[in-house]
Amino acid sequence: MIKTFTRNDLIRYVYGETDTYETMDIELALTQDERLMRKVDKLRLVKAGISRTLISPSDDVISRIFAYSRDNNLQPAHS
């Protein structure tokens, strides 16, 4: 019998937060349930898209941050 999963279970699976047994159960279900596979695929595609929206700041602001750190040489803290 194919186990049923909540929508939140699928989110945890897509983000790699299910434990080994849950992962095995979901992956078995994916091989047997095309609708479930399509659902997971859709989630994965949006997730992949978000990861690709990263942007970088200008080199200027990074240089200013480095300079601030160098110019503010406080006493080394005790770790």
Binding site: R52, V61, N73, L74, P76, A77
Partner: protein, 199 residues
């Protein structure tokens, strides 16, 4: 030979002891995630750079002042600082969503488009631009979970603890964020072609 990458915790320890290069490495390692977090909230690249600087000034003062508690979570900590500063600024200035135009194009430095046809590069750029704008328009609670999961690398459990909600609420917000983004993409004819996201 590949150099071994030092952990954030090691770099912080070196920095506490006066090693500025260690700090530079930390900044370079995480600058895109932190900057993107801010930009997705304030929607303006100059304000985002200003707040990025403010974020790191806080980090510098806390670490050099000996007030940083090492818990192995440097990035989530900095992203939380950045997120809070951005939300404060956004609320103070009451900036409402603006349309992102092609002016944002030079900001795509973090994306790699090597070995692609001009057409697919253009399509991918447009899709990312649209997606970024769609993220900016998400309800605040959904956008917060999305940012903390994607850019701060926090687990849903950690997000729940940090934002004072149950894990099911955090998961639900993420789910709605993904559903909303997908809907917007479809409504605006941005196809979800697997080829848009090569590994």
């Amino acid at each position: 030979m590949k150099k071994t990458e030092l952990s954030d915790a090691t770099l912080i320890t070196l920095y506490k002891n006066g090693d500025e290069k260690a700090f530079e490495q930390l900044v370079l390692r995480h600058k895109s995630r932190i900057y993107s977090t801010i930009y997705l909230i304030v929607k303006d690249r100059y304000t985002a750079e200003d707040l990025l600087q403010e974020t790191f000034i806080k980090v510098i003062e806390i670490v050099k002042g000996g007030r940083y508690l090492e818990e192995g979570k440097f990035l989530p900590w900095v992203v939380r600082i950045a997120h809070n500063l951005a939300i404060d600024r956004f609320r103070r200035e009451k900036r409402y969503p603006t349309i992102v135009t092609e002016d944002g194009a030079p900001l795509f430095e973090a994306l790699s488009f090597a070995d692609d046809s001009e057409e697919s590069v253009r399509m991918r750029k447009e899709t990312h631009l649209f997606l970024r704008s769609a993220i900016q328009q998400l309800p605040e609670a959904q956008r917060e979970v999305l940012i903390l999961r994607h850019f701060a690398n926090m687990s849903f459990q950690e997000i729940a603890e940090n934002t004072g909600v149950s894990i099911n609420t955090a998961l639900g917000r993420m789910r709605y964020a993904l559903i909303n983004l997908r809907k917007k993409m479809i409504q605006n004819n941005y196809t979800y072609d697997k080829d848009l996201y090569p590994k």
